[in-house]
């Protein structure tokens, strides 16, 4: 697979992720679910780009995208876990 084809495929994956991520957020009315969906597609595109034997700059860019995706994903999971914890009962008078 040439680098040009790989770039086009990665771009297609990004476009599909943007489209479906927005749709998931709208359909489920859960923006975080849509964001996670988008991040998964961005990760896939980053992995496809990482396969290309490019310059160190291209490698660093792909690695940065992947790192951003990981950090954002971790933040989303932590936020969801924090929301899942039930609130303590109100103190009795």
């Amino acid at each position: 697979m040439t680098d040009g084809v790989r770039d086009v495929v990665a771009l297609g994956v990004v476009a599909a992720g943007l489209l479906s991520g927005a749709a998931v957020a709208l359909v489920t009315r859960a923006p975080l679910a849509g964001l996670q969906w988008l991040l998964d597609f961005l990760l896939a595109a980053g992995l496809l780009r990482l396969g290309a034997t490019g310059t160190p700059t291209a490698l660093a860019t792909a690695a940065a995208i992947v790192a951003v995706r990981q950090v954002a994903g971790l933040g989303l999971r932590r936020a969801r876990a924090a929301r899942a914890v039930p609130e303590p009962p109100a103190p009795s008078p």
Partner: protein
Amino acid sequence: MGFLSEDAVATFVDVLVRLVETAGAVIIFSGCVIAFVRFLVLAVRERRVSSFTRVRLDLGRMLALGLEFQLASDVLRTAVAPTLREIAELAAVAAIRTALNFFLAREIREEREEIARDTAERDTAERDTAQPAG
């Protein structure tokens, strides 16, 4: 023994690397296409977050599988990496992929546990509704 010359081995390994790497890319791309098609079906039929999470889990599995293939191609590449610079680049890519594989596996495990928990809670709630106390 011309067929065992250094050039011949390098060419053979290069072909193998390209094959394995392309297989990894094809797996990742197929995972995305399958996830997108399933998204279209789910967007029309069901509109539950948990359904979309299941699709995301399957996509994550495909990504992990593609990563394994790409790691295999890195290992193959170490067979012929003449310069120190190439070896350093190879090490960087392999390190990124290994770290990614680790985080992806952890994420899949956490999501799977969450789905199992949600399903168990829903089952319990449905059972309680079906058999009211008293």
